[in-house]
Amino acid sequence: MPQQPTLAIQRPQPGHLVVSLDGSWTLHTSPPPPAEFLAALDDSVRHLAFACGGLDDWDTRLLIFLRTVIAEARSRHIEMELAGLPPGAQRLLTLAETVPEKTTYDKSVRETLVTRIGRATIILFDQIREVAAFTGEIVLEFLTLFSGKSPFRARDFFYFVQACGVESLPIVSLIAVLVGVILSFVGAVQLQMFGAQIYVANLVGLGMVLEMGALMSGVIVAGRIGAAYAAQLGTMQVNEEIDALRTIGISPVGFLVLPRMLALMLMLPLLCIYADIMGILGGSVIGVTMLDLSLVEYLEQTRKSIQLSQCGQGLLKASVFGVLIGYAGCLRGMQCGRSALAVGEATTSAVVTSIVLIVVSDSIITFIINS
């Protein structure tokens, strides 16, 4: 059991104050607050000394107390004698005071509103320039692809095709089937009231083909692949791997970004077709089990309700989403700073940017086609 820390004040002669610190002054004990003691340092005190005969144990707690006392005594021009303190404490106090002030990194300057607006504007313009440069580089590298001088490696491309295509199938299946089920449930409740259950097939079919197939596979791929791209490129940025490519004259866009983007552009429409089919199958399960429709009847109704041009609309959306997700993921990865924190931010930002772009572009495409 540590001894309770105590503090006693003695006045051996007028104007002289001796503080004796006893017990255990550590972070695990609660010493008397310094305020009481500071009150004793009035104008009559001219000399301050310490006595630590009864001090068993001390750590930073004691030093913090002493620093407060010393600062106060100094501001009142009281003469101090530190000789009574433990030698280790004296040395640490001296050390803490001799740390040189670094003036080069002065961050304490307060910025005015105008400065902040100005800085934000400069950053905004820098970002616009960066995005434009990145876009331009993608276009140029895409053109060199046909000249045969591109550093593009087919092996990387096929690797990414596998990662965003085949390996996404299980999760896309699950989500698409469930979306089909949800759509048919929502429709069934209303349509059953009019005895028009068969039109559930139209609802599910059109819903999947026009909208949900592309949207759902887009969102899944944004989370799975967009985030992975940002994290991969961000980590390469941190490890100076991208600088290493630049210095041997290989364009990181041609070498790293293009295979990733092209793989997504190819695979997302295919995933969308797959999601459409899975969604329709999901809907048919509800149609057959709950609405007493036969499977053939349901599928025939679906076939009649969907036109090829409508499938085309879904595919167009999926292709656009593929470009946008690849673009956002790679952009955020290439913009990544040089720390672990920055990689995390790049990943989050890639997913958020992709999803915003997906929804916005979806609205625009739907509006243009239907007006």
């Binding site: 490890n239 600088d243 210095t247 041997i248």
Partner: protein, 258 residues
């Protein structure tokens, strides 16, 4: 006899991030065949200077000359041609983590030469054996220790037989023995390749072992304080900051290579 022509000349160079100036008025020349050390405390701009030299970041003002060519005034293709004659060993190694060692070393060769695959395989095996990594062709960077990664990165840096080799803190993160082995390897390679070496470091043991010339960048006064052979500087330099750095703050003018 005239003095050998400088490989790199730096004239009135100012380095800055936005309005934050790192260094100003840098003037020095790196002679062909030298092992030139850029030294200085943390955060004084050593690595930024390398980025300027490698064409990764344009300097705020001033010029960098490779031989007779003003590097940052050159059109981009010519700048790439200049950089192609250099190799660099990054602080972290910066091997491409998705490729094996053989592919890492082979990539610059594939990109710049038309050699048949068999020749490239031989070249890669030879470069890897130069740095003591024969037989590690099929390993991925993550499967190697820090020292091995540095050496593999060196093999990649010398893949195209560069005229100038840059090293960014080669001994950072290495134990004293691996650091010494790397230093010896650096000396050996200079002898045999006849390359000019530019080394950014603050490892004193390394500085005294390898350097033939140096420049000292100071973060507080934001400029270079001294240039010359570090051993000579140790004996003759009168600047307190430089002397403090070269003697680890003890002020004793004796070379201590551990």
């Amino acid at each position: 006899m005239t003095a050998p022509a400088p490989a790199i000349t730096i004239k009135a160079l100012t380095m800055a991030y936005g309005s934050f100036v790192l260094q100003r008025d840098l003037n020095f020349a790196i002679t062909r065949g030298d092992i030139f050390v850029i030294m200085g405390g943390n955060g004084c701009g050593k690595s930024t200077l390398l980025r300027h030299l490698l064409g990764l970041k344009p300097p705020a003002s001033g010029s960098i000359w490779y031989g007779e060519e003003n590097f940052w005034e050159l059109p981009e293709e010519d700048r790439a041609r200049v950089v192609r004659k250099t190799g660099i060993l990054y602080q972290t190694g910066a091997l491409w983590s998705s490729m094996t060692l053989a592919e890492n070393v082979a990539l610059p060769l594939l990109h710049y030469t038309d050699l048949p695959p068999a020749d490239i395989r031989d070249l890669v095996a030879f470069k890897l054996s130069l740095v003591g990594l024969a037989g590690f062709e099929e390993f991925y960077p993550a499967e190697l220790s820090g020292g091995m990664r540095k050496r593999a990165s060196l093999a990649r840096a010398i893949a195209l037989d560069p005229e100038i080799l840059f090293f960014d803190e080669p001994s950072a993160g290495l134990d004293p023995i691996s650091a010494r082995i790397l230093d010896e390897l650096i000396l050996e390679l200079r002898e045999s390749l006849g390359a000019t070496l530019v080394v950014v470091t603050h490892d004193l043991a390394s500085i005294y072992t390898i350097a033939t010339n140096s420049v000292f960048l100071d973060g507080d006064s934001k400029t270079m304080l001294a240039t010359g052979n570090p051993k000579t500087l140790l004996q003759e330099c009168t600047n307190e900051t430089v002397l403090n750095f070269l003697t680890r703050g003890t002020g004793k003018r004796e070379v201590r290579t551990v």
